[in-house]
């Protein structure tokens, strides 16, 4: 097996090195990759969507269909992990061997986590809301806000988190996020535009079509945010407890 692997990896390396000779010079502003499509995006996205961050504009609007599937992929992963790992019943309290690190109730850790978590959530919301103008957006914000819950459940334990946030709620919200995304797209159909054509929202929102695109993007970013937040919690809860949902790490 090792020999096969070595052969495959060396062959791959050699083939890619051969291909390298033929590529345009690194960093050339006139290379095809930088001129054909990307020039259009850079020159027109501000005018057409009024979003200064090109990445957000392309991600959420020009290629919004990709992003919808990306959100669905995350949702799908959450469901798959849950289906594979989840165990039926919790083990009885007395069967669980408390891990050594869990014995001391660390007051410093808990207090710090309690202080940091709200800050993280606030920052996550900022990243979400300011994604049009700076790096960030629904996905990054969602991961940060998911991480704040993960932090809490590491400092305390998973049961504390799950007693406040039921599993059913987690799954409900993670589906809801994708539904918000696909729903915004589907309402465009009802308004007479193509799927995910946010400019048709201008009839409802009473703004110009360009502004409507900007608002539509914010809407779908919120959907992505919700899904990612809850799927990150769900992934952590499943993987850290081995599907038992007891104490976590």
């Amino acid at each position: 097996m090792k020999i096969i692997a070595l052969l495959v990896s060396v062959a791959l390396g050699v083939i890619l090195l051969v291909a390298t000779n033929d590529l345009p010079e690194w960093g050339d502003p006139q290379s095809p990759a930088s001129t054909h499509l990307s020039r259009y995006y850079i020159e027109n996205s501000m005018e057409q969507t009024s979003v200064p961050n090109f990445v957000t504009a392309v991600l959420a609007d020009y290629r919004g269909y990709d992003t919808m599937f990306e959100t669905a992929v995350i949702f799908c992963a959450g469901i798959t992990v849950l289906t594979i790992l989840r165990r039926s019943h919790r083990r009885k309290k007395k069967d669980v061997q408390p891990r050594p690190c869990r014995e001391g109730q660390d007051i410093i850790l808990k207090s710090a986590a309690r202080l940091i978590a709200p800050m993280m959530q606030l920052f996550a919301l900022y990243v979400l809301a300011h994604g049009h103008h700076s790096p960030g957006g629904g996905f990054q914000g969602g991961v940060i806000s998911g991480a704040s819950f993960i932090l809490l459940s590491i400092a305390y334990d998973l049961e504390m988190l799950l007693s406040r946030l039921k599993e059913r709620t987690i799954m409900f919200f993670s589906g809801l996020g994708v539904l918000i995304y696909a729903g915004i797209g589907a309402i465009c159909l009802l308004l007479g535009g193509n799927f995910l054509n946010y400019s048709s929202w201008s009839k409802i929102l009473q703004v110009s079509e360009v502004e409507a695109r900007s608002h539509g993007m914010l809407g779908i970013e919120i959907g992505v945010f919700i899904t990612v937040t809850f799927i990150m919690i769900s992934l952590y809860a499943d993987l850290a407890s081995g599907g038992e949902m007891d104490e976590g790490l």
């Binding site: 890619l16 033929d22 054909h36 599937f69 469901i79 059913r168 007479g192 193509n194 400019s199």
Partner: protein, 511 residues
């Protein structure tokens, strides 16, 4: 209005239905089933709608998502070829959906340790619907990168569906996951090389740029093509890269294998054909590169390997998985023959093989559901116990052998003609050889099925007439009968399908 929005409905309905099942189906399992069947029926109707639209106008439909025109936004392209595959996918999804009414509650919630796992059935149906959404999105898309994302969603859902089998299924699925990720990553790398050379991701746009003379002889484009092909071959389990398939499909729950076995490999073949002829061109693949003399014999080896391995299997389900590997060889070989007859054979075989794989897997699933066993011995006396199921199994077997009124005959006819025209004698021989092996396999099963177990009868002193009928329930029989009829119909109307649907999609440059 709805007419012009049909292409997106095909993809949006299963996606929204997955969410609906996940959000509202948690209360009762049977509600999930009805939601799924409803969604699949609506999808099938939408797919038929686009098919009739394509047939009546004779032109492909372009649907611009977000209202952005072609190279800047993502577009869906539905032409003759993709509308046919869309109908097949949604049709199979509907049939398996109906079929799953009894099988899913029987095999999904319980595990080997006999504990009931909460929410298993709604999750299963959610993944089912997401898988179908992914496969339909692969088929409809006109964007090379979007294909990757759709591929991944279909792959992730299929890992979930396959892993729910018996204990050993997890390890098999892990291997599948590793191989699947390698395949998808190779595809992504190939698209990256195409992007760096052309600056575009839209398939139609790419084809236009790649037709330039400078691109035709570029090394990195050749390597991009090789990467993409290797990636897809891993996904479809083409011969030297097939290692993950038999275990993953054999150990999976029956409903999952009924769904995934007919669809996953065929959609990968469709992807290969789409990329060969709609991103690159027939001229580039067969004249500039001229790799057909390498790939077609490889396909012949795949056919021979698959057939011989199938002959050696005791477990019927495992035997069928090896036949799938052989069938992949048929389609890859046909597509790479480089002439019109080979292309027709390969495309027609996507449809025909999808339906016949479904037919035999569903019949076998019904037998397993009743007898709890998938060895050859479980077939003993099956004609007496489950006459309809057995008849359907035999019909599927006839189609796989290629006996005339069934569809299997016509695809083989075109493949053999194409191989003859291209002078690929080894491939032609492999086709005939595998028909022979399939005949041996299925007649052996039929023989076992016709004769009751004499030894057991002697022991228990039963008479022949006393064997009780134990036919599968109606929810399983109905889709099986429809599938079996479709095998005959696709065969009988083969001329119309080929002239109406496949011939208009023959790419320019194939003779």
């Amino acid at each position: 209005m709805i007419q012009s929005q049909l292409p997106i409905l095909i993809i949006a309905i299963p996606l929204l239905m997955a969410l609906a099942i996940s959000l509202f189906g948690r209360k009762s399992d049977i509600l999930c089933f009805y939601l799924l069947v409803l969604g699949m029926a609506a999808t099938f109707a939408a797919a038929l709608g686009t098919l009739s639209q394509v047939l009546s106008t004779g032109e492909s439909i372009h649907y611009y998502l977000g209202g952005w025109s072609a190279p800047h936004g993502i577009e869906l392209v539905i032409d003759h070829l993709s509308s046919m595959v869309l109908c097949m996918i949604s049709g199979v999804a509907l049939l398996v959906g109906v079929y799953s009414k009894r099988t899913v509650p029987a095999e999904v919630p319980f595990r080997t340790e006999h504990e009931k796992i909460p929410q298993r059935v709604p999750n299963y149906y959610t993944l089912y619907s997401l898988l179908i959404a992914g496969l339909l999105a692969i088929t409809a898309t006109g964007d090379a990168f979007n294909l990757y994302v759709s591929l991944e969603i279909a792959a992730l859902a299929s890992y979930g569906l396959l892993a729910l089998g018996q204990g050993r299924a997890y390890f098999a699925t892990f291997k599948y996951l590793i191989m699947g990720t390698i395949g998808a990553s190779f595809y992504l790398l190939g698209v990256g090389y195409l992007y760096i050379k052309t600056g575009s991701l839209n398939m139609g746009d790419l084809q236009g740029i790649l037709a330039q003379a400078a691109m035709q002889h570029s090394t990195s484009i050749t390597i991009a093509f090789a990467m993409i092909m290797v990636g897809i071959w891993v996904k479809m389990a083409f011969f030297p890269l097939h290692g993950w398939l038999p275990n993953a499909y054999t150990l999976a729950p029956n409903t999952s294998s009924c769904l995934i076995a007919p669809l996953m490999t065929k959609v990968s073949v469709y992807m290969m054909i789409r990329l060969m002829f709609s991103v690159f061109s027939a001229n580039y693949v067969f004249v500039t590169l001229g790799w057909q003399n390498l790939v077609v014999p490889m396909a012949a080896v795949a056919i021979i390997f698959g057939s011989i391995s199938a002959l050696g299997q005791k477990n019927l389900k495992r035997m069928l998985t090896y036949i799938i590997i052989a069938e992949v060889g048929y389609m890859v070989g046909g597509a790479w023959l480089g002439n019109a007859n080979g292309y027709i054979g390969a495309v027609y075989h996507i449809l025909a093989d999808g339906m016949m794989t479904l037919c035999v897997f569903m019949a076998l699933g019904a037998i397993i559901y009743k007898t709890g066993d998938s060895s050859l011995e479980s077939m003993r006396g099956i004609f007496r116990k489950m006459p309809i199921t057995a008849a359907i199994f035999v019909l599927g077997g006839f189609a796989m052998i290629g006996i005339p009124p069934t569809c299997g005959f016509f695809s083989k006819w075109y493949l053999v003609t194409g191989a003859y025209e291209a002078g690929q004698w080894f491939f032609l021989g492999a086709l005939l050889f595998s028909s022979l092996i399939n005949a041996i396999i299925f007649f052996r099963i039929i023989e076992t099925g016709f004769f009751p177990d004499f030894n057991r009868e002697k022991e228990s002193g039963h008479h022949e007439g006393k064997v009780a009928m134990a036919e599968a329930p109606l929810s399983m029989l109905l889709p099986m009968v429809i599938t079996a009829l479709s095998l005959l119909l696709i065969g009988l109307y083969s001329k119309d399908i080929i002239n109406g649907l496949i011939r208009p999609s023959i790419p320019p440059g194939l003779l």
